[in-house]
Symmetry: C2
């Protein structure tokens, strides 16, 4: 009897382990860590508050007050080509093109205590360590590396709010854990506004770090628990100018003093270790207080690292299996790594009891929703949130709730532009929250008050003193004299206004509908019929004379040129086709975009872009034209979309460290991959239509939260058979290259019959 149960248990365990690894095993977090991907290889759970990951360098954002362009490489703290690791910090953005975070860097060392990080060329001179990729393992929810300097093996995993470290030490009388409160991503000396640490007892410390960076006023609290008591500890304040030292000299505050406070502090904790002894650390975060961080620490109650790792990987498996794809190993690797990257942000921003810091810098209680932050909306409104509307509708609902709370708590009463950690950094153009709200509500995925959401959209779109909105409202365009990005703003506002109009229509607010539908045509004001390009206009209504549609600087566009932005009328491609002079002209223009040969000077002058991220003149490595490959569906040659999409999937997504052709941008780049490899894409969120591309999966099943499933069957697909010869939706032939949200969400089957020839 006993034997039998054991057998069953073993069988069950094996099965479980097997099933757990069915999709998670394809996740390769190392993909995109080289060059421009800006993702991090460390441990996180889906939408987790903690992103515990190695930082290979922490070079300053500014030196002597001057921006240091090299910092850009370190948006995620890690660059694959680096040879050293400075330490393991707890917060990271995934794939951004500007940055912040990198809180609470932890590093194990041996021997003589070194409280400076040292330099990459001489790691032995500091606490950083050399490492090699051959000793590195990066999985979903798990990271492992051997730190060569001291022969310490570091392992990381995480729950939502807790980072779990496991360090395997050699035998040593002088083992240290460094806690660096100075370190950070996009750091500079003045960024650390304040840090504080309290040593509660010999296995527990609490504290916080308050910074002034991309998030202007951000405080991250922590509680840090050690599996083994430290023997002694200390703190050193590296601040050059400590004017007030007061009466604190009454204690020796550098050693075994249980409180440290200042702007530039590093701490150390000393141990004696036996051979292969594991010292484990759990660090919980909170946006509210040290007390709440302690509460959040209870998320992992044990010291079993393997169990924590399994829990993290099971959490990934649960999310990843929402789309089950068949295909070759590379495809599965790309697909599930893209799924992984799509589920890293937005991030949880709420304690276990629902408390969180709001935009008003007060503490709030989340009622019946999970509060999220890290909204890289200029990127993610395009495909990531539309993807969530299919495979993560409940979380997307929570995200909309979070954005509404942002609006309510915002001193300026606006929906988020680019928000993180109770701040808006207003990065990029447009007010794309409205697209996200509109799309979620129109798709039935918002449980809140839709009319309030509409009001929030209207208030945001009417914020006259923000980024040219007043001019846009009054003139229908933004004078080039008034804004360096006048055209992209006008184009994006126009799309956003269309999204507002769609929501208004649904809510029977015809006045709003009419008003915003009219505004959504403002793109026409920047369209120069003579050249066929979107072009900046001066206040007097004339087009700006000096104009180069290839140039990305000073032409009225943000992170793009007119060639890419001219196609930005996702809300009404037919009108754009017409404005350009009909389908033929439009087709020719698209052909030119995708086939031109850019001069080298273009790359030298243009940030964020390399030849890897380019197909002709089309920049896939950045977002503004992400929908453009699908626009052939509005011409007579939809097969060209299929060609370009397959080309893009192949060129821009590879299962290698340099596999991402541009910043992953909090999952947008990956969401494009997921949609496109499944064969369709949301050209205009807010619309229920998806344009068809060319699937690369062999077959796929989307397991919907409503219990239904949508199956994608691909017949005769291959690297050569890239053209869609025929499509059957629930066995009925499709007459055009579009499917609807309802087709998917009610479950069913979409069958592609592929061919190596377009008709």
């Amino acid at each position: 009897m006993h034997k039998k149960i054991t057998c069953i248990l073993i069988l069950f365990f094996v099965t479980l382990t097997y099933s757990q690894n069915k999709y998670t095993k394809y996740v390769k977090p190392i993909i995109g860590t080289q060059r421009m991907g800006h993702v991090y290889p460390g441990a996180s759970v889906p939408f987790g508050m903690v992103q515990l990951s190695p930082d290979t360098d922490t070079i300053p954002y500014a030196v002597n007050g001057k921006y240091n362009p090299d910092v850009y490489k370190y948006c995620a703290g890690y660059q694959y080509d680096d040879k050293t690791i400075v330490g393991f910090s707890h917060t990271h953005f995934s794939g951004t093109g500007h940055s912040d975070l990198g809180d609470f860097l932890v590093m194990p060392t041996l021997g003589k205590l070194q409280l400076n990080p040292g330099t990459a060329d001489k790691p032995l001179n500091g606490f950083r360590s050399a490492f090699s990729h051959s000793n590195e393992v990066a999985e979903a929810g798990y990271y492992k590396v051997k730190l060569d300097d001291d022969n310490i093996v570091a392992e990381l995993t995480a729950s939502n709010r807790v980072g779990f470290h496991q360090y395997t030490f050699p035998k040593s009388e002088e083992a240290h854990i460094i806690l660096d409160l100075m370190s950070g991503i996009y750091n500079y000396q003045e960024k650390n506004v304040w840090t504080y640490v309290r040593v509660v007892n010999d296995t527990l410390i609490t504290g916080y770090r308050q910074t002034n960076g991309w998030a202007r006023t951000r405080t991250q609290y922590f509680a840090m628990s050690f599996s083994k008591p430290f023997i002694e500890y200390g703190a050193k304040n590296f601040e050059e100018k400590q004017v007030y030292k007061g009466f604190w000299r009454k204690f020796n505050q550098e050693k075994n003093f249980p409180e440290a406070a200042g702007k530039q502090i590093r701490m150390y904790f000393n141990f004696k270790t036996s051979e292969n002894e594991k010292i484990k650390i759990k660090m919980a975060l909170s946006s509210v207080s040290m007390d709440r961080a302690l509460l959040n620490l209870s998320e992992i109650k044990h010291w079993d690292f393997e169990k924590a790792k399994n829990d993290a990987q099971n959490a990934w498996e649960r999310e990843l299996k929402k789309v089950e794809v068949e295909g070759d190993e590379d495809l599965k690797t790309n697909f599930y790594t893209a799924m992984y990257h799509s589920f890293l942000a937005p991030t949880t921003y709420m304690d276990l009891d629902g408390k969180y810091k709001g935009l008003d810098q007060n503490i709030h209680q989340a009622e019946d929703f999970t509060n999220y932050t890290t909204f890289s909306l200029w990127d993610t409104y395009r495909a990531l949130h539309p993807l969530f509307n299919i495979i993560q509708p409940k979380k997307n609902n929570d995200m909309v709730h979070s954005m509404m709370k942002h609006y309510e708590q915002s001193p300026y009463k606006m929906l988020p532009i680019w928000s993180h950690y109770a701040n808006d950094n207003w990065c990029m153009s447009g007010y794309h929250s409205v697209s996200l709200l509109s799309d979620a509500i129109l798709k039935g995925n918002y449980t809140g008050d839709a009319n309030k959401a509409l009001e929030a959209c209207i208030a945001t779109a009417n914020k006259r003193d923000y980024e040219g909105i007043g001019f846009y409202i009054d003139k229908g365009f933004i004078p080039s004299e008034k804004s360096g990005i006048s055209v992209s703003n006008t184009l994006e506002y126009a799309y956003d206004d269309w999204a507002i109009a769609q929501l208004a229509k649904k809510l029977n607010r015809n006045d709003v509908y009419e008003q915003f539908l009219k505004r959504s045509e403002n793109w026409k004001n920047n369209f120069d019929v003579a050249t066929g390009f979107m072009r900046p206009k001066l206040a007097d209504g004339s087009f700006k004379k000096e104009f180069d549609p290839l140039n990305t600087h000073g032409q009225g566009f943000i992170e793009g040129n007119s060639w890419n932005y001219t196609f930005f009328v996702p809300q009404n491609p037919n009108a754009l086709v017409e404005a350009m002079g009909g389908k033929k002209v439009f087709t020719k223009k698209l052909d030119e975009l995708f086939s031109m040969n850019l001069p080298d000077v273009f790359f030298a002058d243009t940030e964020d872009i390399t030849r890897d991220g380019i197909i002709g003149g089309y920049v896939h490595g950045n977002e503004p034209a992400h929908h453009v490959a699908y626009l052939y569906n509005w011409t007579d040659q939809p097969w060209k979309s299929q060609e370009i999409i397959r080309k893009t999937l192949k060129m821009q997504y590879k299962p290698t460290p340099d596999g991402l052709g541009g910043n992953d941008d909090c999952g947008q780049m990956s969401a494009w991959y997921i949609f496109s490899s499944l064969g369709f894409y949301p050209v205009a969120p807010g619309n229920n239509e998806y344009a068809i591309g060319s699937p690369t999966v062999q077959n796929a099943t989307i397991n919907l939260e409503n219990g239904k499933s949508f199956q994608i069957k691909v017949n005769n697909g291959s690297d050569k058979n890239i053209y869609v010869k025929k499509m059957l939706l629930n066995k009925k032939p499709l007459t055009n290259f579009f499917i609807n949200y309802e087709d998917i969400i009610k479950g069913g089957t979409l069958e592609f019959i592929m061919s190596n020839k377009h008709k």
Copy 2:
């Protein structure tokens, strides 16, 4: 009927007004604002969180990182000799000799907006204003001044947590209220760690100021409400080096932008005013959050300034009438001003709902007590808290509770040394919390767990790594090589240890009693029989060779010299008499102290002391020898105490702006006055005995909280009749010059028969 009621109401009102002013009218907050008193003339209620007062200058604590000794004048923000007022800020220490605070400076101006304060010699060049004392009124809970530059009348009053401003403007199209978040007392550029303001609507703003000064890590939150909507507003960041400006340029953040955040911010709010229009402001404080500051704002729900002022003055009257004295006008002025100064600190540190920030920087809920901060214990354990044990036992109980919470929440598990605003600044010597706890418990005024309190005392007294305690425990003295204030620390620790022993005895902890009683004799280790002075000892046990009992520098004493500290054995004057060689020698030594003529070089070399604060070589302007005048009671010539005390009362306390001979030190100097003018003094808190001096009141009634009263009758007292010829306690002659706590607290009468001759 109606008429009759009106009449009664009027009568009632007149009576009430009259009775309200019975004692409060004698309070002259201007006393001590000149030179060394370091008190502030502005508005506060007893033990109030808010001290709303004019700052006549805010010169920096340090210039280019170097301490600026002139800042010392501005410990309370106000110096009587100054000709200009910079503005009105909300937090001030009363009478300290080091400083902090000065939060949220508000200033009304007219005409062209000036966001710099200007200089004292050219007030028109900035927002500060000239003023004159002829246009100034300072009362308990009320302050008024005409600001000459713009002819604006400023009036201030306060409740516990709310500062109430009333500004009477001329007619103007350009009236401004400036809110200066940079300004502060003992300020320096790096002190402002962060400030934040949110404009909630056109009559309400919230925010906070976070500083790194005497309190290392302090955050003060506020909510500020205007009686009239501002037309427009703005903020300017004066930070020289703003490295990260990010994407915030998307708004014009200097004007009408509802959020300001940075390190050096001033704001303005614009109005149009009619002739004599009053603009009122209520600013509430909180240690917890902006939300709680809003909650605290509800403490004053109306906009009736007169009512708020009356409420504040009634609050004072309630406290002041706890001691009703008869005497001439000057005596009453001195007495009630001393009472007023005695009730300004400790200050309330708790929101309306009982929430407060603890030493651990977490938010706590006060259960069944009021949490206080601002514990200037080296000063106030001597006479202020002993006074509270008689006339404010409930509040003293709350103060002990607050100190116990400090202990529990302290990372270093010590009772407070000098604590304010959730920080300990460890200023001065000794660990005098233990005296306060012992005295309160022995007198039956602590409702908490006395055994826990004893544990806290023991833990504090055994903190080996604090200020030489380890040496003190091991050797019985602190080697001069190890501490610059080795002797005063040993003397004070010895007294404190005696206080611990008394508490232990009461709690039947004989082991503790024996141990600490033994420690309380450690003063003997620093007593040099050969010279008759307390003298620093070297580690080898020999006395330090170079030794000057007059010098206040480098001799082993803090803020004093050996002449003053040699008499610091309050716990056992008889033993000191004996050690010195008997009563004759001791008397002679006291005589010498009180009659010597100090050379001018003494004053030039000694901080905190002027000839005004000196009687012979006795320094009354500082605390270490406050009990010494009473020590003749341990000789055969008690009448000499009476002489010296009368001399001190007359010389050191005058009803004039320069009337205080030294820092009032959070009420200690005033508490000395109150005791001494009533005729007795607590030489050794922890003892139930008071030594007799020479009363200056004609008669007095102490109205005790237990409903009883203790009457002091003075027969034949006058400026000449300073000697106590006879005393009757409840009609029975006293046989010595001591009375007990029990004598007072059970109610009764103490009758002095005075004479112009000592027997």
